[in-house]
Every structure is written in structure tokens, then in C-alpha cells.
């Protein structure tokens, strides 16, 4: 491996704009030449093969999740932001769920399941998902064009999260601002002059959620936040800090990655010749195509782990304490399981299921929500806007954040269609 530029720790080029838009060629070289590669600029090891990612995900005792979502927390650069945060009720901030290890994680996950009740909640929410999908399409169908991210991919999952957190629809832009700030701070790409505002936003979010939790402590309510504070006899309550961290993870986990998934999916459907007409004829194929979208363009390109002991990956030695980024984006393109890995709507994803939602004890708790939103969205969009295509005049653009893959904007056009409300003579 001495001739391998990656193994010597030289810059891999992963962070230049072009690679952020299309990282898969670099991932391929890494899988072949340096499947566990130290990235000095980021001070972590990038794990790019499916088997290694899966092994790490399946061994939480060897690889801790304490730093799972942070590459560089921008608050550390701002004493003023830290000062603001230290005086809030959320201080010191707790690390739960995605950022925790057993035995704490086991307890957190059980509490989340009891409060979220995914199967029941999703069954109850499904008609609402369909309703929101139709309302959003009604918002632009007569115009013959839309900016898909702003008008569909963002509001759909955010309104579902808002429903779960008992936030009215007219406040989803506020949720979005809080969520975006959190992501930018964690990703470290927030401009310096925005860090203090982001800290204030964090506190606004915490105060907002605390008020809702307080009202549920006074008057019981059978919803997600209500079930989080209504603890069965003999069980220990979550602390305020833990509750706020739960709420934050539900907010962020429930919107950003699903927005990216919907944008990636719409782009792939349009970009693959004949696929939209095939879906119109065979809508039962959508669930398999959704898996292929998730595999090909994992919205969350990776998460972090910290090695709790020395580890040897087929000759590459990782010291205890080393930080690793598991590249789901790369694992999902591993030639060992996926051949050329190009987007293929006919691919059989059942024998080796992608890692877009992780695997093992930290597997995404909301994945059924994302899948259901995607299936209903793609089914309804292709039915109601049968000739939907890329705009000839306005550009589409990918996001360029290392750990997220999605569309920043996606301008589409189509033959104008009547609103659903008009067609049926009822209000939407």
C-alpha cells in the first residue's frame, strides 16, 4: 500500500466542491486502496466498505456513539455562545439516543418506543400524510412549475414532525430555522457571525418544548411529548436535559434527512428514462424503488463512532480513542454487494439491505415514517403530475455538506393541472 496516496494521510479531496456534489468516485478509490483511511484535516478515519461499517454498527461495545453526530461543534469556537447556553435550562446538555451507549441507550430507546409507538402512530398519521401531500401539490399544480425542495420536500416531513411535537402548521418555518442551526453548528459550517444567533435559537427551542412538557405534567395528554413525561410507576423519569435532547433528535431526525430523501428521489425518478411512466403503470413497484433511492443516495452519508479499544481492520490498525466516520454513502455503493452501484430501479435490494438507516441498536427509529412519506409522495406526484420534469430555464443544485446528501434546490415543470379540491368540489 506504500504507493497509495490515501494511506500516507495526504488530502483525499473529499471536501472540495466537486467531491461534495459527487463523492462516489472518491469512495470507490478509498474502498479499493484505503478502506479505513485517516483524514488528517478532519482528524477521523473514514470507513468506506460495507462489511466494516456493518461490523462497527453491530459492536457498540467496541465503538462508542458518544460523538455520533458531531464532526466539529462550532459552539466551541464562541465563548459568547457557550456563555448563553450555560445559563439555560438545557445546561448541561444531555447525550441520549443516537449519542448514547448501552446501558443508557437501552433505556432511552425503550422510552422512545413507548412514547413514539411507531406502528400505531404511523397508522394514525397515514391519512394525514396523504392529505398534506395533496395540499402541497395543490399549492403549485396550476402554475405548471415548482421549486420542489421548498414547496414539497421540506414542508412534508416538517409538518409530520410538527404534528408529532404538537406544533401548529404555521410555525414550521420556526422549526426549520432551529433545526438548520443545529445541523450547521454540528457540521461546523455555520458562519462565525451566526453562531451566537444559533445559540439563542437553541434556547428558544428549549423554552418552547419545556412549556409544552410543563403543560402535560399538569394535565395528562396522550401524545408523544405527553407520553415522554408520563412515566409508569417505578420507572425513573427523564431529566429536563434528557427530554430536551429527545425533542431535538425527534425534530432533526424527522425532517432534514427525509427532505433530502424526497429531493434525491424525485431527481432520480425524473433522471431515469421511462421510470415515471413505469411507476404510473405499476405503483406497487414504488417500495422497491424507494429502497434503491435510499441505497443510491443515502441522505445521511455517515455517522461517527469512537473506538473503545485498539482495532485491526484487515491490517489497518486503529488506536483506542480514534474517531471513525462510517460512510453509509460509500457502503451502499460497495461493489462486493452492488456491482457497478449505478441507480437501477430493477435492482434486488432484498438480499443486502442498504445502510441508509444504519443497522443494529441505533437503527433509525423513524425509518418507517420516512418510507411511508416517500411511497405516498412519489405515488401521488407521478399520478397527479404525469409529465413532471426538470425545469428548462431554472437550475437545480446539490447540497454541498459532507455528511448530508440532498438537493439544495430542484426546479421542476409540468403541464398545469387542476387542484384536487377543485376537481372534487371540496376544500382541500
Amino acid at each position: 500500500m506504500s504507493s497509495c496516496p490515501f494511506a500516507k494521510g495526504s488530502a483525499v479531496g473529499l471536501l472540495n466542491e466537486e467531491a461534495l456534489r459527487e463523492p462516489y468516485a472518491i469512495y470507490k478509490r478509498l474502498r479499493e486502496e484505503a478502506p479505513v483511511a485517516f483524514i488528517p484535516e478532519q482528524n477521523f478515519w473514514l470507513v468506506t466498505r460495507y462489511d466494516d461499517c456493518e461490523f462497527i454498527l453491530s459492536h457498540p461495545e467496541k465503538f462508542s456513539s458518544r460523538e455520533a453526530v458531531s464532526s466539529t461543534n462550532a459552539y466551541r469556537r464562541s465563548p459568547e455562545a457557550l456563555e448563553i447556553l450555560s445559563k439555560s435550562k438545557g445546561h448541561p446538555r444531555a447525550k441520549t439516543l443516537i449519542m448514547s451507549d448501552p446501558p443508557d441507550h437501552t433505556r432511552y430507546r425503550a422510552i422512545l418506543q413507548r412514547a413514539l409507538i411507531p406502528a400505531k402512530t404511523l397508522r394514525e398519521l397515514t391519512p394525514r400524510i396523504q392529505l398534506i401531500v395533496d395540499e402541497l401539490i395543490d399549492g403549485f399544480c396550476e402554475r405548471g412549475s415548482c421549486e420542489f425542495v421548498r414547496e414539497f420536500a421540506y414542508p412534508l416531513p416538517m409538518r409530520i414532525v410538527a404534528t408529532l411535537l404538537d406544533v401548529p402548521d404555521n410555525q414550521i418555518d420556526m422549526l426549520k430555522a432551529w433545526s438548520d442551526d443545529f445541523i450547521s453548528v454540528q457540521a461546523g459550517n455555520i458562519p462565525e457571525d451566526r453562531i451566537v444567533d444559533a445559540a439563542r435559537h437553541t434556547i428558544e427551542f428549549e423554552e418552547y418544548i419545556l412549556a409544552k412538557l410543563d403543560s402535560r405534567r399538569k394535565t395528562k395528554r396522550d401524545d408523544l411529548l405527553g407520553r415522554l413525561v408520563d412515566v409508569p410507576d417505578g420507572e425513573e423519569s427523564l431529566t429536563i436535559q434528557e427530554l430536551l435532547n429527545f425533542a431535538l433528535q425527534i425534530l432533526v431526525g424527522g425532517n432534514e434527512s427525509t427532505t433530502n430523501f424526497l429531493g434525491n428521489g424525485m431527481y432520480r425518478l425524473i433522471d431515469t428514462p421511462g421510470l415515471i411512466s413505469e411507476i404510473q403503470a405499476n405503483p406497487e413497484r414504488i417500495p422497491d424503488i424507494v429502497e434503491e433511492i435510499l441505497r443510491h443516495d443515502a441522505p445521511l452519508q455517515g455517522l461517527f463512532r469512537v473506538a473503545t479499544e485498539d482495532h485491526n481492520f484487515d491490517g489497518i490498525k486503529i488506536p483506542k480513542g480514534a474517531k471513525l466516520m462510517l460512510s453509509f454513502g460509500s457502503a451502499n455503493h460497495d461493489e462486493k454487494y452492488y456491482g457497478d452501484a449505478d441507480f437501477d430501479p430493477d435492482r434486488d435490494n432484498r438480499s443486502t439491505l442498504h445502510l441508509a438507516f444504519g443497522r443494529g441498536i441505533h437503527a433509525c427509529a423513524g425509518q418507517a415514517f420516512a418510507r411511508r412519506e416517500g411511497v405516498i409522495a412519489f405515488q401521488t406526484l407521478t399520478r397527479r403530475l404525469p409529465d413532471i420534469r426538470l425545469s428548462k430555464t431554472l437550475p437545480s443544485e446539490r447540497q454541498t455538506l459532507f455528511s448530508l446528501r440532498g438537493m439544495k434546490q430542484l426546479h421542476l415543470e409540468f403541464t398545469p393541472q387542476a387542484r384536487k379540491g377543485q376537481k372534487t368540489g371540496q376544500a382541500a
Binding site: 453491530s58 418506543q113 409507538i117 411507531p118 406502528a119 397508522r123 417500495p287 429502497e291 432484498r350 438480499s351 443486502t352 439491505l353 438507516f357 443497522r359 443494529g360 441498536i361 437503527a363 433509525c364 427509529a365 425509518q367 418507517a368
Partner: protein, 61 residues
């Protein structure tokens, strides 16, 4: 090989039925599965256990 499912953990994600439809089926609000796994489906049963988001599937060999 025998399949055991912890129904308290199961949240009907349906990933088992997706990767091993011969062994698992979601019928309304119920997960139905075939407890005895024939030799030729053992690999699929292992995949199903691995991909369950709730880790609700246990295999007894």
C-alpha cells in the same frame, strides 16, 4: 433453526417481510412468521434478524 419474535419490541417496520417474504408477513397489525426455518431459508432468516430496526427477531440454532 427456529425464529422467535419479541412482539413487545416489534413495531411492524416490515423489513423482515421485505428481505424474507417466505418467512415473514405483515397482515394488518400483526406480524406472522414461520417459526421453523428450512435449511435453504436460513440465510434469509439471518438477514431478517440483522436488519430488524427493533432487533426483535431472535434465531435459535
Amino acid at each position: 433453526m427456529k425464529i422467535e419474535v419479541d412482539h413487545k419490541r416489534c413495531e411492524l417496520h416490515g423489513q423482515c417481510a421485505f428481505v424474507a417474504p417466505e418467512l415473514f408477513k405483515i397482515d394488518g397489525d400483526t406480524l406472522i412468521f414461520q417459526a421453523d426455518v428450512p435449511e435453504e431459508l436460513q440465510q434469509k432468516a439471518r438477514t431478517a434478524a440483522k436488519v430488524c430496526p427493533q432487533l426483535a427477531i431472535k434465531l435459535v440454532e
